[in-house]
Amino acid sequence: MRRSLVALVGASLVVAACGDDSKSSEQTTATTKVAQEVTTLASTTTVAGSTAAPSTTAAAKPIDTSATLRFSYQVGPTSWDPAKMSSSFDTPTAFFAYDRLVHLNPGADPIPGIAEKWEFSPDGKSLTFTLRKGVKFHDGTALDAEAVKANLLRNAAGASKGELAPIDTIDTPDPLTVKLNLKAPGGSLPGVLTDRPGVLASPKSFADEAATKALDLMPVGAGMYKVTEFVKDQKIVLERFADYWDKTAQGAAKVEILILTDNNARANALKSGQLDIANIEASQIDEFKKISGIKVTEGLSLSLMHVQLNRSKPFLDKKEVRQAMNMAVDRAALVKLANYGYGAPNNQYFPKGYFGYNEAISIDQYKYEPAKAKEMLKAAGVPDNWELDTVVPNLTYYLTLAQAVKDQMAAAGINLKLRPVDPVQTAPIFYVQSSGDLLISVFGGRADPAQLLNSLFTKGPIQNPGGHTTPKIVELVAKANEPGDQKARAAAVQAASKEITDEAMNVVLLHSSASFAATEKLAGFTAWLNGKPEFRGVGLTK
């Protein structure tokens, strides 16, 4: 028996030792959700409005429609049940099998998907979608207004409760019309419905308890490809769905998705020709660029790194103190140091090229001036060597970044006491328990900019611990939530964004880069601003 116990302890030590490896792949999860080179963006946004997604600039050679596309990602879907999907990393794999009412274009603007068009009522109290005719789920069930209603109500009662909160009731006057009656401003809804909350499953797949349990492990969607084999956290095999409404989206006959959490395992499989495309780390970009036969797609994403403040804590409720903190960081140096030069320094919540980005906010609004910051802090009555309890997810990337921020802020007399915590404990500690003054971490993008403004800067959502806000921000965020055309909404979002930067609500550091490496045969793949790999129209050349 003693031998068994020794072996057990040994095994658990190995598990513990490997914990770090798996966590660094979680860091991948957090940091590699990314994409979009600004130059690519400029050219690709011209396809906005077109329903057949990405531009196929690489498709000089004809696409081999009988090919099998092999893709690897670091995580699979948390669940195939749309009401249980809870992570923003679910969608890159889930969207092969599932379709939504609204799609995104490469510039992250909503464009028609299953819905051909949508319209807000003049008073903004309802949103009406007109569906495409003859769309079917993989089990042959018609994707009609009733199916959409059943799905949205179900998603709103499940994991997407927060995102779909504006929906009150749903009317279906005819099989192709879905009218959402809203109890709160729903300007963000078209954007929200491009993501997890808008995922549609066959109503038969959640008709009873047994079916719902089965749905958790096998999707019944209406996506481009149909799942033929699924091994949780290992492998997803799909084949082209013959009845799909948009044949141009289906570049391959078969798709094999391998879930590989380890960055190096993914990179090695790609290098040795066992994969066609995989996401890679910023640290791996330069290495891959040197390999012949492999091309790297890289660009800015909506995902960002920031120092989040619990503004209910002493001194952090003072605007000038927060402004001083913003002047105590050298953002360009952080991009070089932690991101290998990929990504972009920023002091607003949206990246250049996105419709929420405000040109009027200068990156020099908070220049790195530690001496001036120190003076401002002194004037505000902050004690010298001011100690701040700083929560950091215990992963190499975050610790590197946090250490650099700590060193920079020290010059302004701010003493960050770094508290590394288990990554899965970050939200419970900083958000739920409201423990810690600062959090240095990632904030993944949201499908609609108003969602981000809402969760970080209004009172109520758990992601604003302490609940501090200002009346002006509340008013501007409410305006950003109002329905309207893209131009009007962009103006409202940008106005709110400007106020947030002026008030120095948090310390935004940088927008991350998303990067993918692929064989030269891969055609039709571009970096999208939402930072996620998108496979509409992607295939392999002959």
């Binding site: 028996m1 031998r3 068994s4 072996a7 057990l8 040994g10 095994a11 190995v14 598990v15 030792a17 490997c18 914990g19 490896d21 798996s22 966590k23 979680e26 948390t78 669940s79 249980k84 999907m85 809870s86 992570s87 923003s88 994991a159 997407s160 409760k161 927060g162 995102e163 349990k213 089965a214 958790d216 492990l217 091994v231 949780k232 956290d233 290992q234 391998l258 879930i259 959490t261 380890d262 190096n264 395992a265 090695n268 499989a269 290098k271 040795s272 066992q274 288990d422 990554p423 899965v424 404990q425 939200a427 419970p428 739920v432 993944g444 969602q451 969760s455 959502p461 758990i462 992601q463």
Partner: protein, 314 residues
Amino acid sequence: MGKLIVRRLLLTIPLLFVVSLIVFGLAKLVPGDPAVTIAGENATIERIEQIRERLGENDPAIVQYGRLIKGVFTGDLGTSLYSEQKVTDAITTALPVTLSLAGLALLFVVLFGVSFGLLAGSRPGSLADRILTVLAALGVAAPGYWVGIILIIVFGLNLGWFPTGLYVKITEDPLNWLYHLVLPAFALSLAGIVEVTRQLRGSLRDTMQQDYVRTARAKGLSGRLVILKHALKNAAIPVVTVIGLQVNALLGGAIALELVFGFSGVGALAIRAVVNRDLPIIQGIVLMSVFVVTISNLLVDLAYGWLNPKVRAQ
């Protein structure tokens, strides 16, 4: 013999009980809240509380432990906290990967370990012995995962002789299965090979100086016959102990190599479960490991009996 087997199997029951208590205690002591993860990125406090209630996280610890133990006795290890995946399904999907890897590694350990041990031990001080002793020192110093990475770089990426990883099911393509396992299994087995070589060398050297060996030689038996027929069986007892311990070490070491080679085995499952605090899965894996270790120890004891009649008599 039958009695021995039954007694040893019965002994695992209290062991499993103690181990499950330790696992449950550790899982509860380590801070973590699956409810926050399940609730998702835009969760509200109310939703987190609802999920906590549904998972039974608000019940007293003793009630939660009772639920877990009841499941074990009814043969139902439960489902993952995060999906409808049954713990038994999760383990039976992952186990063949780990067993393939550890099994092939064990084969390497026995094959190479015994061969090298014989080579070095039958002629202590010879050139072969000295070379093997130096290589063994190097081998014992190199951790398996590091060797795995080196093998990937040299044989996978530079020479292109072997795949860099990714598991292929034996039912799909047995040859390809083997082809994909060679590098990780070799990396995993290295420490074991060294251990067995050194053990066998030492014990064979001692045995070769025994009187009965000298007698056998004096009778005019060939060197090969003396070693294989007379010396090896006696020299093998400590080696069998080492091989038994290696089974446990291989299963533990497989965890790191699964990560390096992108295999989705028990190790990868365990790490995910630990990171996510998925208690039913952790419990299932630990119980399975205890079972495997118990069985391997039992086999070692049975082997002692075969090699040494004195043990059988007891």
